[in-house]
Amino acid sequence: MGGNRWRRALPPAAALAVTLLAWQAACVLFRIDPWLLPDPWRLVRYMADEASLLWWHLEYTLGLALRGMLLGSAAGVLCAVLFHALPAVRAALSPLIVMSQNVPLIALGPLLMVWFGFGLLPKMILLVLVCFFPVAWSMLAGLQHAEPKLREYLAMIGASRRQTFWRLELPASLPYFFSGLKLTAAYSFSTAVVAEWLGSGRGIGYFLVLQSRGYKTTGVFAAILCIVACSLLLYGLAAGVERIGLRRLRPGAERVKGGGAA
């Protein structure tokens, strides 16, 4: 098992190493200017030197992304439960919500700023709008696709709607909820970065804009690396929460999606 994992990690690690070496070699051999393309070694040194500045920005963005994730998932769960309980509301609102997801963030952001100013509020609204959707839609699917055999059983023994929700639909939707949460985690950090473009005095997105306006390509690359790393971190966090959550909330059924009998 352990040996297998290492064997699987080897090819991508090797590919990464080869890419980095080729990159470094190209920069040195062709004497590429750093403002055009910084070499990996320069990047590493830059990031080490500017670690505290980068962290100061990252801290802010991480906070923003985490709050957006939490609020967005909460809104998503509420929305899913509401739509599930009231199909009429779902029928009325779901086209609107799906349409709202197609409005480009770059268009929506400035509008939110016009309406709500430059503070935290428009950024949070943007984040929640992006983060709630995967959770809501995924969980709604989970609530509605609970194992039909179990649904029929509960109907036959006369379980109420509320009992059916708590005993079947909600536990059956948990794996779907966590799938949605992982998706949200993957989006939340880059959305926070976009939110910061729209007016902010701190955050890795703000830093990115500054560096790119000054043609400080090394800084831009550093910011990109940080953003990718943090997005992965948040995804990993969500995956960890999923594992622990499923193990604690649905023991014995970790591998069973939707609640099928073994």
């Binding site: 055999k149 179990l150 029929e152 059983y153 023994i157 006369g158 069973v256 009998a261």
Partner: protein
């Protein structure tokens, strides 16, 4: 059985627990009406084991959905313990063809959960579950999850769950149809033993004649679409019974009679 058509119960013997009175049901399928049940009347007395045998597609599942109150009949009524409960849920306990155990609950929790839906107080439900799991030899798996159990074991848990619900009638819907022949035979013997010890009022739907004869006091033979009660048969074998009756000449005759009744109504696709 004519007592059922008019005003049943009271007139002699033990009272009726379940009465299905002249129930009809049709569905619209592809724009055409499909007549599933045609004036079905049957009943289960207190402490009686009754089977409904019919060819596949004879509306047996529909019958159960009507008794369970999940659907309403177009005509006729369902009475449980003397009260008209047509279209009302929560009066029966139920053992489906597939065990329908909740995969995220242990065996014990599965039983407790069902009992609390039947308004058994939680502490009492836990006590009942523990006590009965021990009594039927499932004490070791009380804390196990359903997927850790074999199909036969899962059905035992499912039966126990139905047995412990304080409801007037137990409805068993082809409970052994999905099991292999050997497990099925064992489960029939096990069920027979458990039932003879508890004497609940049971309605079993099956398409296995042997199973019906082995377990039942009475058998209703259904004809095919629309299903009608073709005959009501009293099973003559004394209790306690065992699978030994399968070699009895009387059993063979009874089996042939029922088979003839089933086949008399078109092809018997089984």
């Amino acid at each position: 059985m004519s007592g059922l058509q008019g005003s049943p119960g009271g007139s002699g013997g033990t009272p009726w627990k379940l009465e299905v009175v002249s129930v009809s049901k049709r569905y619209m399928r592809d724009g055409k009406p499909l007549h599933v049940l045609d004036r079905i009347s049957l009943g289960v007395r207190e402490g009686e084991f009754v089977s409904v045998v019919g060819p596949s597609g004879s509306g047996k599942s529909t019958l159960f959905r009507l008794i369970g109150g999940v659907e309403r009949p177009d005509a006729g009524s369902i009475r449980i313990a003397g009260r008209d409960v047509t279209g009302q849920r929560g009066h029966i306990s139920y053992m489906p063809q597939q065990p329908a155990l909740f995969p995220w609950l242990t065996v014990r929790q599965n039983i407790v959960s069902a009992l609390t839906i039947a308004r058994v107080e939680r502490k009492r439900a836990v006590r009942l579950a523990e006590e009965w799991l021990e009594r039927v030899g499932l004490g070791d798996v009380a804390g196990a999850y359903p997927h850790e159990l074999s199909g036969g074991m899962q059905q035992r848990v499912s039966f126990l769950r139905a047995l412990l619900m304080p409801r007037d009638v137990m409805c068993l819907d082809e409970p052994f149809a999905a099991l292999d022949a050997l497990t099925r035979t064992r489960m029939q013997a096990w069920l027979l033993m458990q039932w003879e010890a508890s004497r609940r009022s049971v309605l079993l739907v099956t398409h296995s004649i042997e199973e019906a004869v082995l377990l039942s006091d009475r058998i209703y033979v259904l004809g095919k679409s629309p299903a009608t009660v073709r005959r009501e048969i009293r099973v003559p074998f004394p209790r306690p019974r065992s699978q030994d009756i399968w070699t009895d000449p009387a059993f063979t005759r009874l089996r042939a009679d029922i088979l003839a009744l089933l086949e008399g109504n078109g092809e018997h696709d089984d």
